[in-house]
């Protein structure tokens, strides 16, 4: 009997508030579904990626020599428990895509390749290329590519186990899967390409896997020692040395996915917590509205527990059903969406969807618990009052006679508004938090694209030269605009931040390309200064890549070069300091392309394209995500404000009705109830921007600290203006809804009040 009374009320409540529950329900399904899909996809992919280390026999490191490895080197390494595998590659430009392709021979022992589509090459004129690089360049199986004057046909699309992120160099901040790709050919085909662009690259594996990163580091040091020793004897020094643990092409995906997972879970918790507060406030209002009934029920023997269960039933049902549907959607639709997002950014092997307990806990157990606890706490607090207090409708926690006093010099309207504010503090705090969170999402959407664009523009307008060459040996050119320079690579000393590469340039006196006064010290690039917070007068210490030697410099100033971490000094000083000898040079700055020297002497050619690959890739992988952030941001914003502003008006329906009877116009009532909410919304919108900006700046720096290079956090003011404008614009819709609601409050509510 009793139970029936409550059950009927449950259904009535659901019916009368159907719109509200539907919106919350859909939003919950969306959020839970999206996050669960994301976690399921990323965890499944992560598992495939991690299993891949053993399955595809991923290397423990690689190095490159200037000529093929001597047998003594091999034996010396075997003695240290290190197996060496030849992994030569060619760097070729593809005519059709203007992209750089790193071509390997078919592999059988190390860094095996996963076939994603088509077949591995069988004939000499066939090639299989990276699946993601192909996607980005709209290439598919059967297409022809012109490489090194030969026409090759794409036989298949593949994923390299040692290039899950298509990093070309360890010093790249980001990979660029559009302009750089990896490919595999038959041995015969590979040999037929000539050796002009051949790199003597080797991979190594330990006979027993290293137990920890620290151990791996120690063992890598031993490999380096052996290499350097061999180099001393034979002159065959390594030009590159990269243990797997610091190889971003191998490690980046794992780090990034772990980071994403954490972010997504936090994102979901925040949404759930906000919704839980919305629910709690709703219930709290219902309790106030039904105080008399509750008082009567309690007085007639209903227990507090029964009432708590009753009021919890609706929100918990909504969340539970949403969680179930969300999970179903997560494992089906959203999993695909998320997997595609990852396939857009990374070159991952195929994966099987795994049931994921962690995702279930994060997307279902924790949200349901969160909802339960927040609402339970509120209910227990609220329902602990005596039945009499309910009957008297006196639910305030405040002691009798202690109502807050307001200065009566203020106009009635202002005091009235302030009373509304005081009456709805939880609503307004939730609105504030909701807006804060929405602003974080909006900031992502609004700030990152212009930030990346600006950085790209910054780089292109601050190039040292249109063409920059690094040579293996000093060769002369006829080109008049070419200017010689010296360069050597050092690295920062590992401290709070990882050690990373810094190019040290020796600039010719009176240089036409680098306009600088060196004084007694060196200039550092804006990127270097930005990342390490350095300015004139500071001391910097750099170490040699494969050696013990350290070099200290005094910073004389900052040179406007945002593309990379770099140090500029006088050429002769550099030559002397690094023992290159007078007149030495190993590079050219040039306005025009140099065509008159043998490519075999060329180590690298750097153009704007190379320097902007970070931003290009960021745009590719960010694109959809940014739109998603915007949509979610606006949705959270609208949902929270809509629900809570609606509640405030509903809660005060009686008062609104009465003021109408008294003769207040709708306009005046709007000025009270809608005005206060609007003030809170606008203040929260604009007020939280600086805070959100500050947090973003901090987060941004924290995330970037893990990457080589530096992307300055500079947000154009217009981004904030647009952000605020979007917020206020979407809020006007809600103002209209509120005004309609105020208009709709019937005068008979006050007349019919049976208390």
């Amino acid at each position: 009997m009793r139970r029936n009374v409550l059950k009927r009320r449950f259904i009535r409540e659901l019916k009368s508030e159907f719109g509200k529950y539907l919106v919350i329900f859909l939003f919950l399904i969306g959020a839970i579904g999206f996050v669960s899909g994301f976690l399921v996809a990323s965890n499944s992919m992560l598992a495939a990626y991690e299993d891949g280390f053993a399955k595809y026999r991923v290397e423990d490191g690689n190095f490159e020599l200037s000529s093929p490895a001597e047998t003594e080197l091999q034996t010396a390494l075997i003695e240290e428990g290190v197996a060496l595998y030849e992994n030569f590659y060619l760097t070729e430009e593809v005519k059709e895509t203007e992209a750089k392709l790193r071509i390997f021979k078919k592999r059988t022992e190390v860094n095996l390749i996963c076939l994603m589509e088509g077949a591995f090459p069988e004939k000499a004129d066939e090639i299989a290329i990276d699946r993601m690089h192909a996607d980005n360049n709209r290439l598919s199986v059967g297409d022809s590519l012109t490489i090194g004057g030969k026409t090759l046909q794409i036989s298949g699309l593949v994923a390299f186990s040692d290039y899950s992120a298509l990093y070309e160099k360890a010093s790249d901040m980001m990979f660029d899967a559009t302009k750089f790709g990896v490919a595999v050919m038959t041995e015969e085909g590979f040999d037929g390409m000539g050796d002009t662009h051949l790199h003597y690259s080797y991979s190594w594996r330990y006979d027993t896997p290293a137990e920890s990163d620290k151990k791996a580091g120690e063992r890598a040091d031993i490999v380096l020692e052996v290499l350097m020793g061999n180099g001393m004897r034979t002159g065959n020094v390594p030009v590159n040395f990269l243990p797997a643990m610091s190889n971003l092409a191998i490690q980046f995906v794992g780090d990034d996915m772990g980071r994403d997972n954490k972010m997504m879970a936090v994102f979901l918790y925040i949404i759930i917590a906000i919704l839980a507060f919305v629910f709690a406030i709703t219930i709290s209002n219902t309790i106030t509205k039904e105080a008399l009934v509750i008082g009567t029920l309690r007085a007639s023997g209903y227990t507090k527990g029964e009432l708590i269960r009753h009021y919890l039933a609706l929100p918990m049902t909504v969340v539970a059903v949403a969680a179930v549907l969300g999970n179903i959607l997560g494992y089906t639709v959203f999993k695909e969406v998320a997997a595609n997002m990852y396939y857009n950014s990374y070159s991952l092997p195929t994966f099987v969807t795994l049931w994921n307990a962690d995702a279930f806990i994060r997307t279902t157990v924790i949200p349901v618990l969160l909802m339960f606890i927040i609402n339970l706490v509120m209910l227990v607090r609220k329902l602990s009052l005596s039945p009499l207090r309910f009957i008297r409708r006196d639910l305030s926690k405040r002691k009798k006679g202690k109502a807050i006093r307001l200065n009566s010099k203020w106009s009635l309207m202002n005091r009235f508004r302030l009373r509304i504010l005081l009456q709805n503090v939880p609503n307004y705090i939730t609105i504030l938090v909701g807006i804060f969170f929405a602003n974080v999402l909006l900031l992502f959407g609004f700030v990152l694209p212009p930030l990346v664009d600006n950085y790209e523009k910054d780089i292109t307008s601050n190039l040292i030269a249109k063409y920059q060459y690094v040579l293996k040996a000093p060769v002369e050119t006829e080109e008049k605009s070419a200017e010689k320079y010296s360069v050597t690579a050092l690295q920062t000393v590992k401290g709070k931040l990882k050690s990373e590469e810094v190019m040290v340039y020796g600039i010719a006196e009176g240089s036409a390309y680098v306009d600088a006064e060196f004084g007694d010290g060196v200039l550092i690039s804006t990127a270097y200064a930005g990342k390490y917070g350095l300015s004139a007068g500071d001391e910097i210490t750099l170490e040699e890549s494969f050696g013990e030697q350290v070099h200290s410099f005094t910073v004389a100033g900052v040179y406007d070069y945002p593309a990379a971490l770099a140090v500029f000094m006088e050429q002769e000083e550099l030559n002397e300091r690094f023992g290159f000898g007078e007149g030495y040079f190993n590079g050219y700055f040039s306005d025009r392309e140099l065509v008159d020297f043998d490519e075999r002497f060329l180590a690298t050619k750097i153009t704007a394209d190379d320097l902007t690959k970070t931003t290009r890739q960021l745009k590719v992988s960010m694109g959809e995500l940014m739109d998603l952030f915007l949509v979610f941001g606006v949705a959270v914003f609208l949902l929270v404000i809509y629900l809570l502003s609606k509640l405030i008006i509903e809660k005060n329906a009686q008062s609104i009705s009465m003021t109408k009877i008294l003769g207040y116009t709708d306009g005046e009532i709007n000025k009270l109830y809608v005005w206060m909410t609007s003030a809170v919304v606008v203040i929260s919108l604009i007020g939280t921007i600086p805070l959100v900006n500050y947090i973003m700046k901090y987060l941004f720096a924290a995330v970037l600290a893990d990457y080589p290079g530096w992307l300055p956090y500079r947000v154009p003011f217009t981004a904030f203006v647009r952000m605020g404008a979007l917020g206020i614009l979407s809020y006007t819709v809600i103002i209209l809804i509120q005004m309609k609601k105020v208009k709709g409050v019937s005068k008979s509510i006050a007349l019919k009040s049976v208390e």
Partner: protein
């Protein structure tokens, strides 16, 4: 005639469930008159009062206040009418729960160009020491006094009261009635008060009895007594 009520009819519902609540009411009330509206439950007292107050409308007939017909007024004009001329008191006090007593009265004063002094009125109402409290911290009688204060602070031409003592005990009821009487005498407002307490008719200038949607009795009370002398 200050208030002129002519041929007022009011029906609720459609078809089968249609009820004629007011079946043609004719009534005139003079300025400054204290008029008591009596009748059994369901006879249409509240309905008539609400039409008079411009928060409900008649199906037929008209009401004119000082010669101005209310039927010609749109929603906006009715709001203006209520604002300018009316004070309203209900059985349920309908105070704004999050405003304190003084502020509740001020919501009435806000609407008037020449309101009474709020502090003085609070003293008259015996609410001065309670002025900073919230409505649910007061007794029923105190809340009703606040509601009366809110209605009369703007010194309205017409004060409509719908069973203002309906929820109060004998003693408190008499206090409230005395207060309304004082207001009527001091400021000369026209008072229309609905009640089903027959004893109250003795303090009125005019007594109107409704029965089943029609006026059964309508007479001037020559032997008017003070509210303090009432007994029931």
């Amino acid at each position: 005639m200050f208030i002129e009520i002519k041929g007022i009819k009011r029906n609720f519902g459609e078809g089968e469930s249609r009820v004629e609540v007011l079946k043609g009411i004719d009534l005139g009330i003079e300025k400054g008159e204290f008029c008591v509206l009596l009748g059994p439950s369901g006879s249409g007292k509240t309905t008539l009062l609400n039409i008079l107050g411009g928060i409900d409308s008649a199906d037929e007939g008209y009401i004119a206040i000082d010669g101005e017909k209310m039927a010609d007024m749109n929603e906006k004009a009715l709001t203006r009418y209520r604002r300018k001329h009316l004070g309203y008191v209900f059985q349920m006090y309908n105070l704004i729960p999050n405003l304190n007593i003084k502020e509740n009265i001020e919501t009435g004063a806000y609407l008037s160009e020449n309101p009474l002094d709020v502090d003085e009125l609070l003293k008259v109402l015996g609410l001065y020491e309670h002025r900073h409290k919230l409505p649910n911290q007061l007794s029923g009688g105190q809340q009703q006094r606040t509601a009366i204060g809110r209605a009369i602070v703007k010194n309205p031409d017409i004060l409509l009261c719908d069973e203002p003592t309906g929820a109060l005990d004998y003693k408190t009821s008499k206090e409230i009635l005395k207060l309304i009487e004082e207001v009527n005498q001091k400021y000369g407002n026209t008072v229309v008060m609905v009640t089903h307490n027959d004893a109250i008719k003795h303090m009125a200038d005019r007594v109107v009895k409704l029965h089943d949607g029609t006026i059964r009795e309508n007479y001037k009370n020559d032997k008017k007594v003070s509210a303090t002398e009432l007994d029931w």
